[in-house]
């Protein structure tokens, strides 16, 4: 583990990996109509570590599902590697998912508890066209992937995911990404259910993975401190809209939008005084 570079790389002149224009998601009709994501524009560049920060109900999970192609956008268009994304058929979806993969929040529900760890990893090799590789080669690949996340494949073989701790499961998810080598990784709060000590390990591994594969990481989180620590670019989301985005240093240290300012002031600090007077107890929140 080396000291992290503090200065920010400029990603804006790198090629676009995933971008969207006017992306909107509306649930329900009539009285029940809710706009979860409201005409958002975004440009994620290759190799960029992007955080989307928002509180619960801000629409960040809906946006992530649209980015993954698990939900269709009601309006707007998403571009993948510069071209309009087409996921109209099963085959095209399958092709798209070779380029984008995900790690979810809850490691305990991310695994099929009835499948052995070997099955999970073998599946990734098969998906990358390695179905007919000799068994030794497959084991070598799985061992390498587990090694990348500091797990020993020999100890995991024939085990079930629930025999591992939350942190280990989440690392196994990273091993899965290591085998799949997608262009984009969407990490939806991958550390919110693991302990502080495992969190550091997982964040380190995500950064290493980005460097190793050179992929774009879209990190969804509610923790602005975490977003600040890990990302190159930060998007702040409120009520389905991006209220502010830019380089992490600029957005966090010099916020412009009122919402961002409030969000930062509401988080407990350790070096500065946490100003409790800013909250109005009589508000109905």
């Amino acid at each position: 583990m080396s000291e992290r570079a503090i200065e920010q790389t400029d990603f804006t002149n790198r090629p676009l990996c995933l971008s969207g224009r006017g992306v909107t998601k509306i649930f329900g009709l009539g009285d029940k109509r809710t706009v979860a994501v409201d005409h958002v524009d975004f440009d994620f560049h290759e190799g960029e570590f992007v955080s989307i920060v928002g509180e619960s109900g801000s629409g960040k999970t809906t946006l992530s599902k649209m980015l993954l192609g698990l939900l269709n956008a009601s309006e707007g268009e998403i571009f993948f590697q510069g071209k309009p994304r087409d996921i109209s058929t099963g085959r095209k979806k399958k092709e798209y998912w070779k380029g984008i993969q995900a790690i979810f929040q809850d490691p305990f529900s991310s695994f099929n508890t009835f499948q052995k760890i070997d099955t999970v990893l073998l599946d990734c090799i098969n998906m990358r066209g390695g179905k007919h590789l000799p068994k030794e080669k497959k084991i070598e690949m799985m061992t390498e992937a587990c090694g990348f996340v500091n797990l020993k494949f020999a100890e995991l073989t024939n085990k079930y995911p629930f025999e591992l701790s939350g942190g280990q499961m989440q690392r196994l998810m990273i091993a899965r990404i290591f085998l799949l080598r997608p262009r984009i990784l969407l990490a939806d709060e991958p550390t919110s259910m693991v302990d502080a000590c495992s969190r550091a390990t997982i964040l380190d591994m995500l950064l290493n993975l980005r460097d190793e594969i050179g992929m774009t990481v879209i990190f969804i989180t509610h923790d602005i401190g975490l977003a600040y620590y890990i990302s190159d670019t930060v998007y702040i989301m409120e009520h389905g809209k991006f209220v502010e985005f830019g380089k992490a240093d600029e957005v966090i240290l010099n916020p412009q939008a009122a919402y961002t300012k409030r969000l930062i002031s509401d988080v407990p600090k350790i070096h500065e005084e946490w100003d409790l007077s800013t909250v109005d107890l009589l508000s109905q929140k």
Binding site: L70, K94, W97, K98, A102, D106, S109, S110, F114
Partner: protein
């Protein structure tokens, strides 16, 4: 898997239910080995023979006799031949004639007879007693005088040549035969039914048929419910709407009424046990569909299903590997309940006379139907229907216990 089984067998409810059920199954398998033959064979000519051991009187007369002089034999005989009705009548006369009975015990045969012989006067006509009643007491007195009378029964055979009765054997009241020496002895633990058939044998065979009916009904209902529930829950959209529409229609029509109509319209001739079972299954899948659907909907948005989609797996594969295993325990529980309710539905249908046509194999419901048709419940022949009710109760009790036990293992929130 191993751990789950261990947990299941740690649940006392499941274990009790399982033991009862296995005991019923074992009886069903083992009993016919000791008592083979057609369970519907009419062995008795009369109806509703009481439970007990029957000794062939014919063979008993042929058996080697021993002489025993048992001191209480005569008394027992007297006691057995003096009916409760007679005893009450005697007391009635005593009261009418104003005889002082002291503290007479009705069951004390000797004291009663002594009092009667000492006081009865045929010429006496107690005040207010009608002639018919007076004559009744005269007959009763005659009968009482002959009680325990003869010491000997003579068996006579007709001489073919002369046509005269010739004494062939004399049976003294001190003659006894060993039960084991009698050639034909039949024990009927539950007596016979209205057609003179061995109830126990019939019952054991009926349990088998009813379980089979329950099993077929359960398989049919669970398969339909599972397939519909999986499709509606996972595919969603228009498929969901359509399936739920059908399900709702079936839910609002009372299932049992539908069942009666269908079985009635099938007609007596086509109604075999399997057909009735299938019809029961076809009318009871709705709640399996509903609950499987809601389980699948909650699973559909789990991350592992999303990941499976991202891995490019097909719909069928996702349903089979990522959804089905999670609801398997639930489906097993639903299946157990369906079997139990299938057995009950068959019993209800048969009780109404809409059960399987069969005269070859009995079912629990048919047995109750026969018992009811021949008024077993009004003439006190409890053995024709009570064991059947008890068996049905035991089967569904054991199945429901197993279900509750499983539920507690698989839904930890229900544990106490």
């Amino acid at each position: 898997m191993k751990n789950t089984l261990r947990q299941v067998f740690h649940s006392p409810k499941f274990v009790v239910g399982f033991v009862i059920f296995v005991a019923i199954l074992l009886t069903m398998i083992i009993y016919p080995l000791f008592n083979p033959g057609n369970p519907l064979a009419q062995i008795g000519v009369g109806t509703f023979a009481k439970p007990g051991t029957y000794v062939s009187l014919y063979d008993a007369t042929k058996a080697k006799t021993e002489t025993f002089r048992l001191p209480d034999a005569e008394e027992k005989r007297l006691k057995a031949s003096l009916s409760d009705e007679d005893r009450v009548a005697m007391v009635e006369w005593f009261t009418a004639a104003g005889v002082d009975m002291g503290d007479l015990d009705l069951q004390d045969t000797d004291a009663l007879l002594d009092l009667w012989n000492a006081n009865y006067d045929p010429s006496l006509r107690p005040k207010g007693m009608i002639t018919a009643r007076v004559n009744y007491f005269k007959r009763l007195n005659n009968a009482l005088q002959e009680l325990g009378g003869g010491d000997t029964i003579i068996i006579a055979e007709k001489d073919d040549a002369s046509g005269e009765l010739v004494e062939s054997k004399k049976i003294l009241n001190t003659d006894y035969v060993n039960v084991n020496a009698v050639t034909n002895v039949k024990t009927l633990p539950l007596g016979t039914d209205n057609f003179g058939r061995d109830v126990l044998k019939e019952l054991v065979s009926a349990v088998g048929t009813s379980l089979l009916i329950g099993l077929i009904a359960g398989v049919v209902a669970t398969s339909i419910g599972l397939v519909f529930g999986l499709l509606a829950g996972y595919v969603g959209g228009i498929v969901d709407d359509l399936i739920m529409f059908i399900t709702n229609i079936f839910t609002v029509i009372p299932g049992f009424v539908l069942l009666i109509l269908i079985t009635y319209s099938i007609g007596q001739e086509q109604r075999g046990a399997a057909v009735v079972a299938a019809v029961i299954g076809l009318t009871s899948w709705t709640w399996t569909t509903r609950s499987v659907r809601s389980q699948v909907i909650s699973l559909r948005n789990r991350d592992h299903v999303n990941l499976s989609k991202l891995s490019g797996h097909s719909l069928i594969r996702i349903v089979l590997t990522d959804i089905l295993p999670y609801i398997a325990s639930y489906v097993v529980m639903a299946f157990i309940l369906q079997v139990s309710s299938g057995i009950l539905a068959e019993a209800q249908l048969s009780l109404l006379g809409l059960g399987p046509r069969t005269t070859i194999t009995p079912t629990l419901g048919l047995m109750m139907n026969w018992a009811m048709l021949y008024s077993a419940h009004t003439n006190g022949s409890w053995w024709a229907y009570f064991p059947v009710i008890l068996t049905i109760t035991l089967i569904s009790f054991s199945l429901n216990l197993m279900n509750t036990g499983l539920d507690q293992v698989f839904n930890p929130a229900l544990r106490d």
